[in-house]
């Protein structure tokens, strides 16, 4: 019978079924970070257990870490203790830890692929909802909570319920200003934040096949914002070229055998998906979020909607609350919205191609007066690569701050936090209330759109530049 890529990945990892619809799934790899692991390690210790396969685990600190003064101890005591606890837990259990001052440090979802820790065909989990990112490699990857981190450490398995499948097909050719970020925002706007709940999404279409791995990761990364824990793209030569030679990748005969197996990881042409969504890229404009939910998105040439036009009272109430929090007036053109902060980074858009796209917009321009603009590379390796290409000099020369790698202003757990009332053009993934700081207003955009907003002090239609 014809099967989907999701079916193939799932079926290859079934350890047992309980007869009630739950499957004990084998987990090949786990990424650990400082926020969701302390309670998992404590639970393990309380039961006198050791990790089942320490070599399948890789740890790095990213959420709470400061993005400047890395040569000094972390100033915030709680963050310092949290990072130290991860290092100590790894040392005590034989799990590899990528040190904060080492070249391997970065955001979990950026370093996993960089290290060749993320591979096609595997199951990969992490105590972070953006674990869907790794599906860009044809891995069954999903976010979990701390209790499940503990279960994976102890048993290498998780009880899971098989998801339904959703195929998202991108048709048509996108304009050159339209990026993976615009594509995923357009999808979330179309189907809503709960639109893919209970489904695993597979992204297909010529536009997806033509994408770099960086762009594919951006696309899969925000699957969770559509309600899905999993985003998938079938691996191909682009995938294999990205992975070959990376530190933790198989090599020699192992590599050849692996690639031969990975070539079979695709949905059959006649596979049936539970839900189909098609998005035409030909008419897609660069996207900007205007509200407090990632489905409240407009094309850059759009205007803030009027709640009075909503027929459904619940939808009207949601929109009213969002506009009230965002301090926006119905009818305002998106290009008339002034911003005072810009954040370029995160596991969504902190990769080298994202920084190239942002730097490519700058030219001889300078950050507008009154605008604070931060560039936070997704990893130490991204930072190093950007500096080798001279991107840091472009950013710094234009008035951007050039920081060390971490989650930074995406989750605002460290000392990068927006003041109350600040308005930010952000390449991150969530425009939730208070996400970048209590009372802060976040607009989600692509790296090029963020850079253009930094120079103009307001949103700009980059198609007109």
């Amino acid at each position: 019978m014809a099967g989907t890529l999701y079916d193939r990945l799932w079926d290859a990892h079934v350890v047992a079924t309980d007869g009630d619809g739950q499957t004990l799934l084998y987990i090949d790899r786990q990424l650990l970070h400082e926020v969701s692991s302390p309670q998992a390690f404590a639970g393990l210790r309380a039961q006198g257990l050791r990790p089942h396969r320490p070599a399948t685990q890789l740890a790095v600190a990213d959420h709470a870490v400061p993005t400047h003064h890395r040569d000094r101890p972390i100033a915030d005591r709680q963050a310092r203790d949290q990072v130290a606890l991860l290092e100590a837990n790894c040392a005590a259990t034989g799990i590899e830890y990528l040190a904060l001052d080492g070249a391997g440090q970065g955001i979990v979802h950026v370093i996993g692929p960089e290290q060749g820790f993320t591979l096609p065909g595997i199951t990969l989990v992490c105590g972070d909802s953006h674990s869907a990112t790794h599906g860009a490699f044809g891995a069954l990857a999903f976010g979990i909570g701390a209790s499940e981190c503990e279960t994976v450490l102890a048993t290498q398995t998780l009880w899971q319920t098989r998801a339904k499948t959703m195929r998202v097909t991108f048709t048509g050719a996108a304009g050159e200003t339209v990026t993976a970020k615009d594509m995923i925002l357009a999808l979330i706007c179309r189907i809503g934040t709960g639109g893919a709940t209970g489904h695993a999404i597979e992204y297909v279409g010529d536009a997806v096949r033509a994408m770099s791995m960086e762009a594919r990761m951006t696309l899969c990364n925000m699957s969770i914002e559509a309600g899905s824990r999993t985003g998938l793209i079938a691996p191909d030569d682009t995938t294999f070229a990205y992975l070959e030679g990376r530190p933790r990748c198989p090599s020699g005969a192992h590599w050849d055998a692996a690639v031969a197996a990975w070539r079979g990881l695709a949905s059959d042409a006649d596979a049936i998906f539970d839900r189909e969504v098609t998005i035409d890229l030909a008419l897609l404009a660069p996207q900007v979020s205007f509200g407090t939910s990632p489905d409240q998105v407009l094309p850059i040439d759009g205007r803030v909607p009027d709640p009075a036009a909503c027929v459904d009272p619940a939808a009207r109430a949601k929109l009213e609350r969002a506009l009230d929090y965002m301090a926006l007036t119905p009818g305002t053109a998106m290009t008339d919205i002034a911003i005072d902060h810009v954040f370029i980074g995160s596991c969504t858009n902190g990769r080298i191609e994202d920084l190239r796209a942002a730097a490519g917009i700058i030219g001889t321009g300078h950050v507008a007066p009154g605008v604070t603009a931060l560039v936070v590379p997704g990893s130490g390796a991204v930072k190093q690569q950007a500096e080798a290409e001279g991107l840091d000099r472009i950013f710094v020369g234009a008035g951007f701050q050039w920081r060390e790698a971490g989650c930074s202003l995406c989750v605002a757990m460290n000392d990068d936090r927006l003041p109350d009332g600040a308005r930010c053009a952000s390449t991150s993934n969530r425009n939730f209330e208070g996400r970048q700081g209590k009372g802060a207003h976040t607009h989600l955009v692509s790296p090029a759109m963020a850079a253009a907003a930094a120079l103009a002090g307001r949103f700009v239609d980059i198609r007109e530049r």
Binding site: V15, D20, G21, Q22, L24, Y26, D28, V35, Q39, G43, Q47, L49, R53, P54, A55, H63, A64, D76, Q78, A79, D81, Q82, L119, I122, G127, D128, S129, G143, I144, G145, A146, S147, E148, E150, T151, A154, T155, T157, W159, T193, G194, T197, G227, R229, P250, H254, A257, A258, A261, K318, R321, V411, M413, R417, R430, F432, E433, G434, R435, K438
Partner: protein, 193 residues
Amino acid sequence: MEPFRTLTSAAASLPQTDIDTDIIFPARFLVITEKRGLGRYAFHDRPDLTIAPGAAILIAGDNFGSGSSREQAPWALADLGIRAIVATGFGEIFQSNCFKNGILPIVLPAAEVARLHAAAQDGEPTTIDLRTQRIGLSHTGAISFAVDPARREALLEGLDEIARIRTRFAPAIAAFETAQRRASPWLWSNEIG
């Protein structure tokens, strides 16, 4: 994990949709490495979303607990005494995290959830019986609900998941590993021993 069988309590009503886990537990408190005592940070930045003391049941809006996977969200709710949450839909990772912490998340159609909101706002006590899978309202009758049988059993018995997997499935895990080591040796090349 504390078993969940039957529960009678006042219910709190929070009908707003898309209450994400950032709202339930703001990120800046995630530097705390404990899982107890987190209730004081629940809805910290949203004073309009308070849960009255004594309410062990929360009637929520659609897509409750969407967003971040942080288990601090259900830990904080559990610390406030919440043992069951009813909504038309949940963020999936949050829903899974609830089961791991003795909180029963129940999905019901919109009309039933609306009835429960009304009852909660009227201060009507609500009874949730996981054995019979029914929600009883003292004035207006019962509502049946579905729950995954394995998760139901785990809640009823207060089962320790790791111990259960280790005792019952160790041979199956070992057999899987032997087969995978043969079929996909590249996944095992870093293994020590």
